[in-house]
């Protein structure tokens, strides 16, 4: 029982980190019809700038804020320079964002060095709670709480605020949104920046969880992010959360019970969903 609880918490925490990456991806695809393979680069830049700020200031909160700001700034630059010229062309989007992903990855090595950087869990989240025979690692609970809180906030914004309604309307009919007097390009930019900030925050939160940051981690987690978006349904926020939890839990359980399948489990999940429900578990930004 204690093992099952530990594996579940581990899986949920991993799922939440993947959700932060996938949430931006699904919004960017749902609203802007853009396949952004550079998303992993934003994740890893958030991780590095956050970790270095954390080490410099001694404050984990400063690291989080710097990671979010990095995401917003990089999101702005990426949308304006990389994405704007290739709207409406998926092949060009894949090629240019994949290329930009590699540039971002290599720039990490130039700026921060080629070796991985060890990261410790901040003091107030270090250690664990023992409840009976069950050991619960504090930092993983923190990640789960952050993940659910952000999901609730984003859901509130999408469902209750004017900008959220505009985003959802834009996913359904961009032309009509413009004809109602709304500058959809500005909405695109905002969504892209928020998506990038979520990815960067995910990178920063991942750092103490995995204990090390390295340039290639962006690509590794971006693939998981895409799998989650496909399973959850392109453009669905709730779908991304469900799929991220599913992928996180499946990875955690399989790594322990069926280790030889642990690397393949995500692909198997995606294949099953694509066979029986090609549009994903959910679809469109319904919340």
């Amino acid at each position: 029982m204690d093992l099952l609880v530990s594996l579940t918490i581990n899986g949920l925490a991993t799922g939440m980190l993947i959700f932060l990456l996938a949430a931006g991806l699904t919004l960017i695809f749902g609203l802007m019809d853009v396949l952004n393979f550079a998303h992993g680069g934003l994740f890893v830049w958030g991780a590095y700038t956050g970790v270095f700020s954390y080490a410099w200031s001694g404050s984990f909160l400063v690291g989080i804020v710097v990671a979010i700001v990095t995401g917003l700034v990089l999101g702005f630059i990426t949308e304006k320079i990389i994405i704007t010229p290739v709207y409406g062309n998926h092949v060009q989007q894949i090629l240019i964002t994949l290329g930009f992903m590699l540039v971002l990855q290599e720039m990490i090595k130039v700026v921060f060095g080629p070796n991985g950087v060890p990261v410790s869990v901040p003091g107030y989240f270090a250690g664990s709670w023992e409840i009976g025979d069950v050991i619960i690692i504090k930092y993983r609970v923190f990640i789960i709480v952050i993940g659910f809180t952000l999901f609730a906030i984003l859901q509130y914004i999408l469902k209750r605020t004017k900008i959220g309604l505009i985003v959802r309307a834009g996913v359904m009919n961009k032309e009509m949104v413009q004809a109602l007097g709304i500058n959809i390009k500005r909405v695109f930019l905002l969504v892209f920046m928020v998506g990038a900030a979520l990815a960067s925050l995910g990178g920063m939160l991942m750092a103490p969880y995995s204990g090390v940051v390295y340039a290639e981690m962006g690509m590794e987690y971006a693939i998981l992010g895409f799998i989650v978006v496909v399973i959850g349904g392109m453009g669905s926020f709730s779908g991304s959360l469900m799929a991220a939890i599913l992928v996180g839990l499946a990875g955690s359980y399989m790594a322990y019970y069926v280790p030889f399948l642990s690397l393949a489990v995500n692909m198997i999940l995606m294949a099953i969903v694509l066979i029986f429900r090609p549009q994903g578990l959910f679809s469109t930004v319904k919340g």
Binding site: K162, A169, M172, N173
Partner: protein, 235 residues
């Protein structure tokens, strides 16, 4: 008679297709101007070109004396032109209330008063306020689309085929609504249903193969059997 909107030799391409090849007409303030023509004549493209959704490649479009042919659609809408597309453009996963909220540029007291007025005009919308747009009937969708365009202070409403696919009794309601809206705004209407167009239209512009054939008073067209037979297939 103040000219509100003026098109001069407007041409538009959609992809490689030369859809509009010379559209010229004027919409006068306080009137319902009707664009008439057969299927594929270019009526819907004309409205989309005015809105900037399929931008003009040649010619001039002026609204309140200012050129708008190079402006983005949201600029044109904010400048005072409301648009009700042929497919109504309802956001199906949003409720009627949310559709109205997206449309309302500023949630001021004045805008809320306008919304109350629109809801009196279309009581069905009030009744189905919390219902998703995708679950409304065709007539209710048309009413919602018109209400959305009307809720802001548009000086001109472009309405594309409001009677399309609707039952006769609903068409009557839509006609009544347009007649009422005419008291507050000018309207440029695309309509295949000549009975409806002739009842509510003040002026007409006939379009054929992407070109303006003739413009004039609606009463003159009603009496011109030859023109109606040649370009509208009626009479």
């Amino acid at each position: 008679m103040t000219s509100l909107l003026k098109l001069e030799q407007v041409e538009t391409y959609i992809g490689q297709y030369h859809i509009l090849q010379g559209i010229s007409f004027e919409a006068i303030e306080g009137e319902v101007s009707v664009l008439l023509g057969r299927n594929g004549a270019g009526k819907t493209t004309t409205l989309k070109t005015i809105m900037g959704l399929t931008p003009a490649s040649k010619g001039n479009i002026t609204f309140l004396g200012k050129p708008i042919e190079k402006l983005a659609p949201y600029h044109i809408a904010n400048g005072g032109i409301g648009y009700v597309p042929e497919d109504q453009g309802i956001f199906g996963d949003l409720t009627v209330e949310e559709n109205m909220r997206v449309a309302m540029r500023k949630e001021t007291e004045e805008a809320m008063r306008k919304q109350d007025y629109v809801l009196e005009l279309f009581p069905d919308l009030k009744k189905f306020w919390k219902k998703h747009g995708g679950h409304l009937s065709g007539g209710q969708k048309q009413m919602l689309a018109m209400a959305r365009a009307f809720v802001n202070d548009s000086k001109l409403l472009l309405i594309d085929e409001p009677s399309k696919g609707l039952a006769p009794i609903i068409i009557e309601k839509v006609m009544e609504a347009i007649t009422e809206m005419k008291k507050h705004t000018s309207i440029l209407l695309v309509e295949q249903n000549f009975m409806m167009a002739s009842k509510i239209g003040d002026t007409f512009t006939l379009i054929d193969d992407g070109r303006t054939v003739q413009s004039g008073e609606m009463n003159a067209l009603i009496e011109d059997e030859q023109l109606k037979r040649k370009y509208l297939g009626i009479g």
